[in-house]
Symmetry: D2
Subunit: 339 residues, 4 copies
Amino acid sequence: MIVILKKSITPDEIDALVNRIRAFGVDAQISEGTGQTVIGLIGDTTKVDRCSLQANKYVERVMLVQEPFKRANRRFKEENSVINISNKTTVGASALTMIAGPCSVESEEQIVGIAKEVKRLGATALRGGAFKPRTSPYSFQGLELEGLELLKIARAETGLPIVTEIMSTSMIDKFVDDVDVIQVGARNMQNFDLLKQLGTIDKPILLKRGLAATIEEWLMSAEYIMSGGNDNVILCERGIRTIETFTRNTLDVSAIPAVKKLSHLPVIVDPSHAAGMAWMVDPLSKAAIAVGADGLIIEVHNDPANALCDGQQSIKPEEFGILVDKLRVIASVVDREIK
Amino acid sequence: MIVILKKSITPDEIDALVNRIRAFGVDAQISEGTGQTVIGLIGDTTKVDRCSLQANKYVERVMLVQEPFKRANRRFKEENSVINISNKTTVGASALTMIAGPCSVESEEQIVGIAKEVKRLGATALRGGAFKPRTSPYSFQGLELEGLELLKIARAETGLPIVTEIMSTSMIDKFVDDVDVIQVGARNMQNFDLLKQLGTIDKPILLKRGLAATIEEWLMSAEYIMSGGNDNVILCERGIRTIETFTRNTLDVSAIPAVKKLSHLPVIVDPSHAAGMAWMVDPLSKAAIAVGADGLIIEVHNDPANALCDGQQSIKPEEFGILVDKLRVIASVVDREIK
Amino acid sequence: MIVILKKSITPDEIDALVNRIRAFGVDAQISEGTGQTVIGLIGDTTKVDRCSLQANKYVERVMLVQEPFKRANRRFKEENSVINISNKTTVGASALTMIAGPCSVESEEQIVGIAKEVKRLGATALRGGAFKPRTSPYSFQGLELEGLELLKIARAETGLPIVTEIMSTSMIDKFVDDVDVIQVGARNMQNFDLLKQLGTIDKPILLKRGLAATIEEWLMSAEYIMSGGNDNVILCERGIRTIETFTRNTLDVSAIPAVKKLSHLPVIVDPSHAAGMAWMVDPLSKAAIAVGADGLIIEVHNDPANALCDGQQSIKPEEFGILVDKLRVIASVVDREIK
Amino acid sequence: MIVILKKSITPDEIDALVNRIRAFGVDAQISEGTGQTVIGLIGDTTKVDRCSLQANKYVERVMLVQEPFKRANRRFKEENSVINISNKTTVGASALTMIAGPCSVESEEQIVGIAKEVKRLGATALRGGAFKPRTSPYSFQGLELEGLELLKIARAETGLPIVTEIMSTSMIDKFVDDVDVIQVGARNMQNFDLLKQLGTIDKPILLKRGLAATIEEWLMSAEYIMSGGNDNVILCERGIRTIETFTRNTLDVSAIPAVKKLSHLPVIVDPSHAAGMAWMVDPLSKAAIAVGADGLIIEVHNDPANALCDGQQSIKPEEFGILVDKLRVIASVVDREIK
């Protein structure tokens, strides 16, 4: 961290500021130039409160040199984290993770049927929404607890681990019992109350990136979970909101190599929510694997036109199968494989 | 709502689609042009599931004609809503609401001292954070329950109603008992679990706009609270994230007249979080009142450089007093007053 | 400028890098911390090529401490610049500049009629497009040279200086002869060929901010003009493109105090293009003056519904008159006046 | 195009509006619902002035149904356009176009050396800047005319067609004589004067997407060139500006399938400018080919740390060679090849 001082500062005030900085447990080194005096902070600056320094009337600006996250940081753990999501499925190892399933769980027949099909075609986990975050209070909100029960039946029938979104802290115990990966949606990425409580369990968390979250903020949200003791965080890029309106969001493929450089956590891509259009799932999935993602989470529905939600972005099982075959070739180029 | 069809659609498939649309309780009118067939939906389309129409393989695009919110919509209630936040303070009436106070409650002396000062200088409500949403888990998280107690003392001493942020649904009963206005922060604007539960109480809710939320989404979040039965929603513009990085966020002053046109709900402005710089609070506050806001929520701290958070964006009580005097003149231009 | 080095750098390579930095005419000061070595650059860093430093394989990051613009910088000229745009009209002095007129010049009757009306109602300069930048090649492109002639007639009849947009470097001589302020549109803000050539004349330039330009880039474009010798630059904020789609662009009122802090150049606001809606011109104009702008440029048309372009954002002369009267009061609050 | 009317409109005023619409050469069909009357425009609406309709006081909103571009539109030309850029090189056919070379031409030795190397390693065209658009007037502006001469020498030695950026309309004749593909930079994407003049020649134009341009605006800029008679337009996605700051821009890979759906024009990707970091060129190039781009334009420099500009984003020839070999495999997945 570097603190740039105003010209008006006096030597006494520099001393006071240096003492204040040292109180955060870091050392301070002063550089006096012709135009500007700067203080360099040396040591672990993750616990220095940047804002309080910025509030000092002799401080012009505070600039970060190191990332403010620690447990999620690759500087502190060089090798890739590999997260177990079932006794035979991992995220972050050489084998790519292919999560597929409908936006919403609608019925036993639907979820079990889709689960069997996607498993046969290459999926290694099953997604399905039981509690649905909808922009409108008048839209279908999911089957809720009944949806969870149906997911469990689908898991029992196929062996696929299940991934589903949590909307409320009151559901954490239930989710710990019932599901394999707890998804935190984009709109809850900075629901700090939820993140803190998810830090106290050891179930894998799939943390989606917020619509306007920087990569750094996303990793800070991972840090919230990890600082509570739960290191099983899987990141998920799902598009950010930009000036482009043709697509619902803009898939930020650069975020994948960026996360890989900054962090040891695995990162997957959701091509369905990124574009919001079924016909874009195929090319975006290819791009995601080519750019280095650890896997995909794709909406697959047997009858998209009659889906209770998000049908416009769901592909059919047969399309999923064709896609997976193409992805195998791309995976080989980036030294990965699809089992 | 207008549904634009693909050229490949057959008359039978148009019939099937029309039946499906009518099942949502609205009527459908078909327009056949030379190039394109479109179906116009007539009636209350707030309950039509746009996504499921979009998923139909003969549908090219679905376009909204009317806003998807209803209880928050000025079409359904022409006169401005006025919300009582104490037995003598309202939001949305002719008198502007001036909410002031520190980012965080730090001690009894601090909060009571500031409360007395800002009241004397023109504030009509007291803000102060007890539970703080911080990007980093290592930053100060607020005094929590102790903070609430100190706010109550400040209220008892000054009579100012208190406004503070809720972070967790588990705190709702406590907040209903203790505070006058429950703030939902920008990062929780689409925490639908929280919004739904706040819909079941009748305490005023201050709903901040999310960092990347459109005005429509913000009003849809208000609709979540209102659809549960709580019509006491106060909106708060606090800046959106844009390509500009000099300011922390970009205060969207256009959102004020936009909200006034689309909705009957009151809307205030937070100039402190928008810019993130104390010296910008003065000009942005003037702009906010000039553009038609119903009030302001401003961070005021007696000793910004030693504030436990957000000191860089807090102004001092004397600066607040000078500002309020200037705002009185601007208020008169827009037919408002500051008591 | 601060150069953060990778841990892998050797003392010899540090020496080589320091020599390279000194070749740019600045001094280098090395700070060695426990984790990281940084080099501070001391002196005038505007001519240091940041990119070439960043390309060095031992450099992790380069951070700017000072702004990269010089002639536009308030550090180098403390007092506000005041630009003469006619023998009795200035921009940047205590009196606000009120530029009004139609989007496009359409006929002698139209432009002279509007000019007379807006002058009577408080305008101090006349705007009117002769060459129009239109997104579509099939839209009306302006009366071009004939439009310039009509503007000159309007000036002769009213004495108002004329402001109009240049689209091509081939027109510079003509514009120097004919107009009082040469406008550079948002889409040409980084048309460096045009900027360089405008630097060689001494006519005032109204430089609109680009749709996605940061304040720093905008000031760098001013610097292009000024570095050529033409210091008569007037900045114009006209909204940036953001995630909000209700308004055509988002008026960035914070940019006004930001520019005032960073630069000595005057800055005005265009509320018509910002929102793209006539009914928003009134509140946004009030916000602009309240926040500290040096003036406004407003589209005024006698018959907006029949305007050849941009009618949806034009106000009528009588609305302009009412607005100006309100603005006089707001101006007094910020120690300005409207003559 | 659909025109949504206000409730206050009278039958006479509807008639007047319909007549006005018909004057644009299209037909109008009225739909009266319970809540809202809408007029559907039938026929070629590309020449209807949307803004003038929007300015009508009885019009609430105008919504586009069809794209406003015509010659660039796939509806009007179904098969992919293939552009010849030399007697043996095309863009848009089955073979991918690999354009490589330095940011700036620096010397004969440099440009000829790099040209030979990249040709050997798989490049099919040579890029190199002679006129450089730089944010700062104090940065290196290119070798200008001398740079063009050196590019011609490199072409003579290798046979590679040359691609270089035009900054000024005064250079068009020179570029027509000297270069094979004229590049229009992102900052000039809406320099309509330049676009119009490039429409009058028949040299291939590489049109980069603006930093805040929507896909529709980008295609409208292509339409400017094409409406003048030059159909040889190659689009180039190079990242848009978003809220993410880790990368310089955000590569919008979704734009590739979007352009392919909306238009018949070829589209390539510039991974070097998108991220602004050399180490991201490899993964982003893979993503670009996987998502369906017609080729790449990559900055390759023999000595990035000593490049006169943009060294931080240039890769070395040997890295380019390794990348091309990987891309061959990905190309096969999307039914393309690299010669």
